[in-house]
Symmetry: C2
Amino acid sequence: MDTIAREQAAQRIERRLARLGYRVTQPRRRLIEKMLAFETYFSSDSLSVGEPSVGRATVFRSLHVFLRTGALCQVVLEDGTIVYRVADDGAHHHHLVCIDCDLVEEFSSEFLEAALAHAGAAHGYQVTGHRLEIYGRCDHCPTEASSGGRAGARG
Amino acid sequence: MDTIAREQAAQRIERRLARLGYRVTQPRRRLIEKMLAFETYFSSDSLSVGEPSVGRATVFRSLHVFLRTGALCQVVLEDGTIVYRVADDGAHHHHLVCIDCDLVEEFSSEFLEAALAHAGAAHGYQVTGHRLEIYGRCDHCPTEASSGGRAGARG
DNA sequence: CTTTCTGCAAACTCTTTGCAGTCGC
DNA sequence: GCGACTGCAAAGAGTTTGCAGAAAG
């Protein structure tokens, strides 16, 4: 994301804050800018680090606000750690997580949505939501196969 | 799960511990028994509570061991909280979480596995794993629709 | 008898809360 | 000017670690 794109993304997030009745303050602006600088996911800690002008508590409070307004989403890593990522799209989506370069991409699929609803229904559930993370290697990272090993499917 | 089934499940878990080189100790037995008494998921805290004979640290250490041996699996709740559940099946599976009664069922589906691998591949990922939780109402819980409201699909 | 495991207590990390002052709108 | 927001500091969960003794195999 280049400087101009980040600027636009920041304004989109700020407008949404304002529209939902939250105030666009200096610390929030700072954090939004910092969030957007991450190419992929980040921890609450890494947002806080090197930002002496923003209190720790404010970071956590802002994280909640951003989550509520859909500016951020949680990503569950393979080891169960929960981290954050700027939501390209405020709507429902899933994550593709590269286990090598830590890139996270959003994606959505009507087909998958339907398949999940159907899977739930088959077990007697009326599905109201779900959470899906797919782990693998993105096409910029050499696979085990191409480096001599063998890629194993865990799923 | 009745007493006999729990006893069998406990033995299965203990055998697996032994086979993998872990010791079957008194505290671990206690915890296994307690885990099996939960009809659904539980937190690290609820495992610890009311078990004065087992130290807090031992609970956490055992949790890691059980996770490593496949006796337990993590379940991510809708709000991002991570809890544990006895794995009926040591193999890969997904979770159906009832948002009313907190029941968690395991399920697996070759079809879904293939669909997820395919979805990843479509985005250039070589899929090595995934994590899926489906939230909804199980067939023992009245739906909003049947109690006058309307069930909304979030996914 | 060796090695792993345990309880305890202390240390640590991560997150939340209370409060008086500040700042957006 | 009002009310939401902020930084600070302290409190509060939740989890990990060091260690000497206990127990499994």
